[in-house]
């Protein structure tokens, strides 16, 4: 063996060793690596944002462990066939649980969202974040694309049932995100451009109707978003303080654990919904651009994996997971930086809090499972 052969075989061997392991787990290398980077960044920021609270960091790590386990299980064990069978089951269970919380749900933050199952509490609406796009993809799987008007109406109903229940909880933010994940499926399935354009006035009417249905505090949030200075000590406080945090961070930030807005408690909900402002204050524009770039690459890779899907279910589910992830990231960063109204959406994979982390990584587990369990065609 000459030197060239030796080095090539070594390179091939290391490559195949890593690749073999990832394939064995049903994971996609680049996507896993990017997700790991974002989650690690989250741990570092949560430590600072929590005021160096080790207990919170430990809890955060435990949540990550549960989320990774869920992702690995889905990526390895759930084949596309199982997932397709699972979709209507998960959807049905989700709807039943939403009815249960509506009746017996515990009061949490003035809203009925939580279900207590003894050892933990969780929100049935989280299931719907995955079940809604899956049921839409499941519905379109057996039908030819693009969807007919009838298909769109049926998918619209599948989306509307859980969404309406979640709005009533009331959890406007989550309801909008779930509706968006279903809508994404419809758009990716090839929904007619004419219908898209025609729906704009319809949505306008729905928005007008919705304004009269939503709760006063939700209306207030929207009004405050439009002019935060109106109520600087009340609802506008969040937005004003988060913009001060971000703006005062400058290009390079004030330094890790040195953000006065965050450390001196001016910034509310700084380890959960407003953690993006902590990144901006302590790591500056560069830190935030790094995170946005990571998000962008994750979304691109996820879309790429979805495009490689071999059937309608795989493609539509994967595409919806990828783009829903974008919606979460965009809504949170937009809200914290003051270009979107304040809706209770955590920063994906960064914010402290277990449910969102588990749902997101479970979604990526499904995405990677669909990709890694492709059958080889034509060979």
């Amino acid at each position: 063996m000459n030197f060239e052969e030796f080095s090539q075989s070594r390179a091939r061997r290391t490559l195949t060793a890593g690749g073999r392991m990832l394939r064995a787990l049903g994971l996609d290398g680049p996507l896993t690596g990017l997700l790991a980077l974002i989650v690690c960044m989250g741990v570092i920021v949560v430590y600072s944002a929590s005021g160096q609270n080790v207990k919170m960091v430990e809890h955060h790590l435990a949540n990550i462990a549960i989320a990774i386990a869920t992702m690995l299980a889905l990526a390895r064990l759930a084949t596309p066939q199982y997932l397709r069978l699972l979709a209507p089951v998960a959807y049905a269970i989700g709807v039943v649980l939403l009815i249960v919380v509506a009746i017996t749900g515990h009061i949490g933050k003035g809203a009925q969202r939580w279900l207590d199952v003894g050892f933990m509490r969780f929100q049935p609406s989280e299931i719907m974040k995955l079940a809604v796009p899956m049921i839409c993809a499941w519905y379109m799987h057996e039908r030819p694309l693009p969807p007919t008007f009838r298909d769109l109406v049926i998918m619209g109903l599948l989306i509307a049932v859980p969404t309406t229940m979640i709005v009533m909880q009331p959890d406007l933010g989550t309801a909008l995100l779930i509706a968006a994940s279903g809508l994404i499926v419809m758009l990716l399935a090839g929904m007619s451009v004419i219908i898209i354009l025609a729906s704009i006035p319809i949505l306008g009417g729905a928005a007008w109707a919705g304004w009269h249905v939503i709760h006063e505090y939700q209306r207030q949030r929207i009004l405050t978003f439009l002019n935060p200075q109106n109520d600087p000590l009340g609802a506008g406080y969040h937005i004003i303080q988060s913009q001060i945090a971000i703006g005062s961070g400058g290009v390079f930030g004030k330094g890790y654990m040195n953000g006065s807005q965050a450390q001196l408690e001016f910034l509310p909900e700084r380890s959960t919904d407003f953690i993006f402002a902590v990144i901006g204050e302590e790591f500056g524009l560069l830190g935030q651009l790094l995170l946005i770039t990571l998000y962008g690459v994750v979304i691109a890779r996820a879309l790429y994996l979805a495009m490689q899907g071999q059937d309608t279910f795989a493609r539509l589910t994967g595409g919806s997971i990828a783009l829903s992830f974008f919606v979460y990231a965009f809504v949170n960063s937009g809200m914290v930086s003051g270009i979107l109204p304040v809706v209770g959406v955590p920063l994906p994979l960064i914010s402290y809090g277990g449910t969102s982390m588990v749902t997101l990584l479970a979604g990526f587990g499904i995405l990677m499972s669909l990709h890694s369990h492709r059958r080889l065609i034509g060979s």
Partner: protein, 628 residues
């Protein structure tokens, strides 16, 4: 109609998805760039603006109260100082929630450190403060209370003893009516003061020198910037978030030096002990007040500590009125102490010559009236000098009758009767010198406006509608001493010393225009008469054995009118209906260095009750080395 059967075209479907995904990807990129643009706007274009907001968010300016100026007597003895006092302070967040606070307060009550009646007020005050602030709940602990708390210390969290600088009057009630006191700033005070100047200060001068010179004594507060969190709580790890925290030290208040001689003051108060009365002694050459006493007094330290409701009511209901500053605000008829000035007036207006003798039969009747104005004895024949020395009423009834109220009013007002002396502490009363004109202005009904000849006669011996304060009397004594040529405005503060300086800056005395009435010869008659009073006249007992000459005049002011036929004033049994005793004097008579007035409420005869007290004070001041 033929139903359309659609067949899945996998390649077409994949193309649709791929195309839509790419469109979505472009949209994602655009929206993420929008967020990036927003961040660029906030962090680069508006950086300065938000950086300042962030700085303002976390820096709070805390005031540092200045140390109050000292008050010293003419020899440097400390009359008012600041000393550490121990107080119980409470930090609510360390105590716990509201039930825990209530429990802690009632526990303090149970061990006897708080009284049940004051707990609701303290609770309210505590709740008005921020949870992390130190709230004083009991001021100026004494040794017993300190020990009591120490024993029970373990039962409390968030409640502890702290030392603070508090005003302290080491001589307690001595000179309290001159010095005044400080006490808690109230709503009235807040309207007067610049609250920024008083941030961090809880006490303010109320009366006396403390009140009048509040501005100089207070000083200027300093400040220090401290780092706070969103709840306003000071943050321990300073310097990390805000390296440049500035501060300015406070400027202590100016020390004030009074003309008081505290040794003389003490002797004056001792002499008045157990009596209601007042002594004012001043230097006739410049108006510097040597002693200013009003009894009974009170301990000003009680006011610093804060009076309890019961204690305050006790003061209010006390028949002896300890809070009343008799020296400035007690207006009494002057009695016979007016006679020397009337004698001068009689000469100036040419009514009586000094040598002219009058016969005193022991009573006086007004022409056309059968009313008898009694004298206390038959003086027989006497001239002006003797009339002053022996305080013959009949002589001065005749002076008044012949002079008439118009000229009396003109003359006495020239010397300041019925006018404020202008002393440098507030609250002074002007007294009264009535006239027909005054009656017309002050009474509505015509019947009441009539001026009776008898009133003129009464005013001839300092009775009737004529009142003076002890301060005015001392001022008149000073005018007599200087023959009207020096008319100094009485003052307590004679010099000041800036904070941190050793240089004592004297303040120039102020004067009213001299009273140019009477020739040297005419004045010498007054001088002889007043000298006679303390050697052969009414006050000879008080003047006996003096190592210097005293020119004085006794006075006995009627409080209660009895029938003119009775001549038993001294026998009145009800103590509060007895006459007020006056004595005014200056000494040494040839070259006066002190002018004095003594008033003893219901003391009876001035010669017996007031003159001996004046003698003690004069001795103390003029013979400082003598062992008294």
């Amino acid at each position: 109609m033929v139903s359309r059967v659609r067949i899945k075209d996998h390649w077409a479907e994949q193309r649709i998805f791929t195309f839509r995904s790419i469109v979505a990807g472009v949209l994602v990129a655009v929206l993420l760039l929008t967020v990036a643009g927003r961040l660029f706007y906030l962090q680069v274009l508006r950086y300065q603006y938000y950086a300042e907001l962030s700085q303002g968010n976390r820096v709070r300016t805390d005031p540092i109260p200045p140390s109050r100026g000292l008050i010293l007597d003419r020899h440097g003895a400390v009359l008012a100082e600041n000393r550490p006092s121990y107080q119980i302070e409470l930090v609510r967040e360390l105590v716990g929630d509201i039930p825990a606070l209530d429990a802690a307060l009632s526990q303090l009550g149970a061990i006897g450190l708080l009284r049940a009646a004051e707990i609701p007020n303290i609770r309210r005050t505590v709740l008005l403060h921020k949870v992390y602030e130190n709230v004083p709940i009991k001021l100026q602990l004494n040794d017993d209370e300190m020990a009591l708390f120490a024993v029970h210390r373990w039962q409390f969290s968030g409640i502890d003893i702290r030392a603070r600088l508090a005003r302290y009057y080491p001589l307690k009630e001595i000179a309290v009516h001159a010095i005044g006191y400080v006490s808690a700033i109230n709503e009235e005070d807040l309207k007067q003061i610049d609250s920024a100047e008083y941030a961090g200060t809880s006490l303010i001068g109320k009366v006396g020198v403390e009140g009048a010179y509040e501005h100089q004594l207070h000083g200027k507060p300093g400040f220090k910037e401290i780092l706070v969190n969103a709840a306003g709580r000071p943050v321990a790890k300073q310097g990390i978030y805000a390296p440049q925290l500035s501060s300015r030290p406070p400027v202590a208040g100016t020390d004030l030096i009074l003309g008081l001689d505290i040794r003389v003051q003490k002797i004056a108060e001792e002499a008045l002990a157990g009596k209601r009365g007042s002594i004012v002694a001043l230097d006739p050459r410049n108006g510097d007040i040597i002693a200013l006493a009003s009894t009974p007094g009170f301990d000003p330290n009680d006011f610093v500590r804060g009076l309890t409701v019961e204690h305050y009511n006790e003061f209010q209901n006390d028949i002896d009125k300890p809070l009343l500053n008799r020296a400035l605000r007690g207006a009494y008829p002057p009695g016979s102490t007016v006679k020397p000035l009337y004698a001068l007036a009689a000469q100036v207006y040419g009514i009586m010559s000094p040598q002219q003798t009058e016969f005193c039969p022991g009573f006086f009747t007004l022409r056309g009236s059968s009313n008898k104005y009694r004298d206390d004895q038959k003086h027989g024949s006497l001239d002006m000098r003797e009339a002053i020395a022996k305080s013959c009423d009949v002589y001065f009834y005749r002076v008044a009758e012949r002079m008439g109220i118009g000229r009396m009013d003109e003359f006495m007002k020239a010397f300041g009767y019925g006018a404020l002396t202008g002393i440098d502490i507030p609250g002074e009363k002007a007294g009264l010198y009535a006239s027909p004109e005054w009656k017309r202005h002050n009474f509505k009904r015509v019947a009441e406006q009539v001026w009776f000849p008898g009133e003129t006669i009464s005013m001839g011996i300092g009775q009737g509608p004529i009142t003076v304060t002890p301060l005015q009397q001392a001022h008149f004594a000073a005018e007599l001493a200087e023959r009207g040529q020096i008319n100094a405005i009485p003052r307590l503060v004679t010099a000041s010393r800036a904070a941190g300086s050793d240089v004592i800056a004297p303040r120039d005395p102020s004067f009213m225009p001299p009273v140019n009435l009477g020739t040297l010869d005419q004045w010498s008659v007054i001088y002889d008469g007043m000298l006679g009073a303390t050697t052969t006249g009414t006050a000879f007992m008080a003047g006996r054995g003096a190592k210097y000459k005293i020119a004085g005049k006794t006075g006995t002011a009627q409080v209660f009118t009895i029938k003119q036929t009775e001549n038993t004033r001294a026998k009145i049994t009800d103590e509060r209906k007895r006459d007020h005793a006056w004595f005014i004097a200056y000494a040494p008579a040839e070259e006066p260095r002190i002018a004095i007035s003594v008033l003893v409420e219901n003391g009876g005869f001035g010669a017996a009750a007031a003159a001996p007290i004046a003698r003690k004070v004069l001795d103390a001041y003029l013979l400082p080395d003598t062992d008294l």
